[in-house]
């Protein structure tokens, strides 16, 4: 059996290497962010840790109010996640209760929606939001939550409900529960892991949204963190360590959230 244990070791090494490769950007970004400002950039790959400095993070404050932008990003993302879970799961649930033929139609619709490039919507959405008075309002950033943020999320929910045994919903219906009740009391709880996954993905969707704030916000009142990167990119184009400090701020919360949720996903077998 030494052959098989060798294979396992080889596979493990391959996995470690792959994981390392995918960790590289984060490592490089943080390493650059810790480079003390005003000193020449190193021309070697490994920087001695005794040179590390947090000064760049302090300097960020000169360029943008990161606390306020972070707060905006956070509340807009959280509201967006809540609304997305409600709309995506409700729509997915309702469709899963329809007849087979109708279900096919809806799946085709979602696939078609997935295929519309977002750029096709920017100019006219801009005109639409202008007429609705949503320009420079968080509504413009949250609008996608109305339609489940992305058809992709609805599809995932739909698939989760399809995989849930029908008897669970049927027994709830016999008890006299309405759609909203069986959705709230039965469907959502049994698909909690899916909900976690969608929650995370939709958080990344709203947190990382760059074009909506860029196009639809005119004042700084509701500006979100990705816009700050644009500021840095224009003002400190060659100040690499400062820019990487900005990138660190923007990626910190989603990455921390993801890492914090990893044990949860581990317990429930990934990708299900």
């Amino acid at each position: 059996m030494s052959h098989s244990s060798f294979r396992i070791a080889l596979r493990f090494a391959g996995r470690l290497l792959t994981a390392f490769f995918f960790s590289l950007p984060a490592i490089w970004i943080i390493a650059a962010a810790l480079h003390p400002p005003g000193t020449p950039l190193p021309r070697t790959l490994w920087v001695a840790p005794d040179h590390a400095s947090l000064e760049n993070f302090a300097r960020l404050g000169e360029y943008f109010a990161w606390a306020r932008l972070g707060f905006n990003s956070l509340w807009i993302s959280l509201v967006g996640v809540g609304l997305t879970i409600v709309s995506a799961s409700l729509v997915g649930f309702c469709v899963s209760l329809l007849s087979r033929r109708s279900q096919q139609g809806w799946v085709i619709l979602w696939l078609a929606l997935l295929m519309i490039p977002e750029i096709a919507l920017w100019p006219t959405r801009f005109v639409l939001f202008k007429n609705l008075g949503w320009i420079d309002s968080p509504l413009a950033l949250l609008a996608p939550a109305w339609i489940g943020a992305s058809p992709f999320f609805i599809l995932i929910y739909y698939r989760a409900f399809r995989r849930t045994p029908r008897e669970i919903f049927d027994s709830a219906r016999i008890d006299g529960a309405g759609i909203l009740q069986s959705w709230l009391l039965v469907a959502l709880p049994v698909t909690a892991p899916t909900g976690m996954g969608i929650g995370l993905l939709s958080f990344l969707f709203f947190w990382g949204d760059f074009t909506s704030p860029m196009l639809y916000l005119t004042s700084e009142r509701f500006a979100t963190l990705p816009l700050a990167l644009q500021t840095l990119q224009q003002l400190a184009r060659s100040d690499w360590s400062l820019m990487m400090a900005g990138v660190t701020i923007v990626m910190f919360i989603p990455m921390a959230l993801f890492i914090a949720l990893t044990p949860y996903f581990n317990r429930r077998s990934w990708g299900q």
Binding site: E62, Y63, F126, L132, G133, I135, D136, S137, Q230, S238
Partner: protein, 429 residues
């Protein structure tokens, strides 16, 4: 729940069909500026001073970092129907807004003002902002292109500081002497010069060689970099990189730009307008100063000027004018001048201590005033920004050796021809 949904649908339909607005209406006036944090602080101070003197008008300051992005932002806001009441615009960029009637002409306001008068300004600044024979915006500054130099590096090399009458030969000699490969590894550690490869940077050198960048300054229809005196200057400019190597190559420039190199003390001279001063004043590791551009066959320099413009859709033009008037009064221009950002367009302020500020870098601040008689304008056309952007791409290719200057001049002409054709001109034919 159903009721809620019904209400939601109802309200959405109402909004959709009536187009009624639920966005909060801005209170007071919006004033939009561009620039780095140091520049932003100067305008913040101006707004605060205005608030102290006229508390009944509220000004909300909005800030966009880069000048190139500024126009996109402004265009979007005008299209959104909610433009800032007052905007700071460069004379190379305001024409596209003026041509669409988005700006309120300010000539009549200026004529009736009790505080400021046209005669108080350097005439060339008002000329730059005159659109179809009317003053469109009120200029706040009049900067030349100057040579910022690191005094410590000159001292170390035992070189005299640039004189007021140095010429192209002196300039090149100094740049060569300050380009150093100190550890002999074949890679240059210190460059003599940093300059952006763009039409706007090249233009003064063309003029110094008695060349022209466009065929007719009053009503230009094409770029003329291919004409002999212009082309010679272009070649000389490109040779700084390709023959003499006193400027970083493309890869080095992309890895770390020349302005950062100047700030780090790795580049001896850097060409910029007055706008660099607030940032450079934060330099602690070396002393720096400014010198005029070197002289070619003749003296020539290029105007940099920004002005306060008023949106024609503003609902409170009277109040907005009062702010513009304040910003361009002796007091207002002094506040911004003290930040180091501007060379004031008001003659009186430019010659006052608020601008000259002895004891503060640059010590030779008078250089900015002495070059004013030699300032030239680029044409004011609604499509000038596209013309500059397109031509600069070709100039950059020549500068880094991809194509010859002849090719670049020709491409620049061909690719900008259409923009001259569709452009709307400041002067009606």
């Amino acid at each position: 729940m159903k009721l809620f949904i019904r209400r939601l649908i109802g309200s959405v339909l109402v909004f959709f069909f009536t187009g009624c607005s639920i966005a909060a209406q801005p209170t007071g006036l919006r004033f939009m500026v561009f620039g780095d944090p140091a520049e932003y602080r100067a305008y913040k101070e101006l707004v605060d001073a205005f608030r102290a003197s006229q508390p009944e008008i509220r000004i909300e300051l909005t800030h966009v970092p880069s000048a190139s992005d500024y126009r996109t932002r402004l265009a979007t806001e005008f299209a959104a129907g909610n433009p800032p009441d007052i905007t700071l615009m460069n004379y190379r960029r305001y024409a596209s807004f003026a041509a669409k009637g988005m700006l309120e002409p300010l000539g009549a306001y200026l004529d009736t003002s009790q505080t400021i008068a046209a005669e108080d300004f350097y005439p060339i600044t008002l000329q730059a902002f005159s659109w179809q024979n009317e003053v469109m915006c009120i200029p706040q500054n009049i900067s030349s292109l100057v040579v910022y130099y690191n005094r410590d590096l000159f001292d170390q090399a035992g070189l005299a500081y640039p004189g007021d009458d140095w010429d192209w030969g002196d300039f090149l000699q100094v740049a060569q002497a300050l380009t150093l490969d100190s550890d002999g590894d074949g890679r240059i550690e210190q460059y003599g010069l940093g300059v952006e490869a763009s039409l706007f940077r090249l233009a003064p050198f063309v003029w110094q060689n008695e060349g022209v960048i466009v065929n007719d300054p009053a009503f230009p229809t094409r770029l003329t970099l291919a004409r002999p005196p212009s082309l010679d200057a272009f070649q000389w400019f490109v040779d700084l990189r390709l023959v003499h190597g006193v400027v970083p190559d493309r890869v080095e420039e992309a890895a770390l730009d020349s302005e950062s190199r100047f700030l780090n003390g790795e580049t001896a001279m850097f060409l910029n307008s007055r706008r660099g001063v607030p940032t450079y004043r934060e330099i602690t590791r070396f002393q720096w100063d400014v010198a005029p551009l070197p002289m070619g066959k003749v003296r020539a320099d290029i105007l940099h000027s920004d002005a306060y413009c008023l949106a024609s859709s503003s609902e409170n033009k009277e109040a907005a004018w009062r702010f513009i008037e304040f910003a361009n009064s002796f007091e207002g221009q002094s506040i911004v001048a003290k930040s180091g950002r501007t060379v004031p367009s008001l003659i009186q302020v430019a010659q006052s201590q608020a601008f000259l500020e002895p004891g503060k870098a640059p010590q030779r601040a008078r250089v900015f005033l002495e070059t004013i008689p030699y300032l030239n304008l680029v044409p004011v056309i609604s499509t000038w920004e596209e013309i500059e952007r397109t031509a600069s791409l070709e100039i950059e290719r020549a500068f880094y050796g991809d194509i010859s200057v002849e090719e670049a001049a020709n491409f620049a002409f061909l690719r900008t021809e259409e923009y001259f054709l569709i452009g709307i001109y400041s002067i009606e034919r």
